[in-house]
Symmetry: C2
Subunit: 170 residues, 2 copies
């Protein structure tokens, strides 16, 4: 593939890189993809009611994690407990305004934990369908992850935008 | 309360207005809060791989809804099936960079559907704990909702950022 040129191509490449880092279990690459205070010229110790560019992350079924410390610790933990993971992304949609992009996608996930018994190579493989909203911010021509929110799809009727059987507030 | 002055105060007020519109079942107010192509000077019929400022919405357990049409239809449907709903917001956190804000919060929800039998005023009340990531974009000094992603909290240990018992990808 040639180098991404347009904003959309760059954002899509950043989004793909995010999932590929997870697949490889590459913590360093993943850390580098998340927005850091230094990217925005903000002092690491800066704190404010409006934390400038502070990252947030919601894993499926989890509460909100806020700040690079909490977010990256969660990924270290996930990587330590995941022997195998693969993401098949579908329905990737990119919405751009200036230096911010909102990416939505469906993460069709196949994953396995560590082997439960000696000799086995992998724990049982689990398939999961998750939807994600990923917010990217451009800093010095590089798109970094500002927010990731992923959640399980609990009900779906392909022919209809309005799954039934749930009370489903805002 | 005096009028909100700072960016953070304005964003927090917009976030509150979003939930209050839901509580009142005020579809017009809710529609006005969502980003529209006209807010960005984009032609309504504009389409592109990077849809400029196209909104997206994920209700708890739902797939992604994209564009004002799908998103607003979902709210009309929800409002039609919700007799009573109240949001108690906690853990509100605002992260700002220039004209974009990422708000995370916990939605502690009490809701009830229409009465299942004649004479009853309300269906059974249901409590729910949901976390949300709301992205706001400033247009002409007004903060509009660009993206809303809400998901159920399925496991939580207050003393720990790392709920157990799930395979939990990105």
């Amino acid at each position: 593939m040639s180098a991404p040129h347009t904003d959309v191509e760059q954002v899509e490449a950043a989004n793909t890189a995010f999932y590929e880092a997870m697949e490889r279990g590459d913590f360093e690459a993943l850390s580098a993809l998340w927005l850091a205070p230094a990217d925005l010229g903000v002092d690491e110790e800066f704190h404010d009611p409006a934390d400038v560019g502070v990252v947030s992350c919601v894993h499926p079924g989890w509460p909100v994690l806020t700040g690079r410390g909490e977010v990256l610790r969660s990924y270290a933990l996930i990587m330590a407990n995941t022997e195998y993971i693969q993401f098949f992304l579908t329905d990737v949609h990119i919405s751009l305004v200036a230096d911010t992009a909102v990416v939505t996608c469906t993460e069709n996930i196949l994953s396995g934990g560590p082997a439960p018994e000696e000799g086995a190579e992998l724990g049982p493989l689990v398939g999961q369908r998750v939807v994600a909203t990923n917010v990217f911010r451009r800093t010095r021509d590089v798109w970094k992850i500002w927010s990731h929110h992923a959640s399980p799809v609990l009900a779906e009727d392909e022919s209809d935008d309005s799954p039934e059987g749930d009370d489903f507030p805002a």
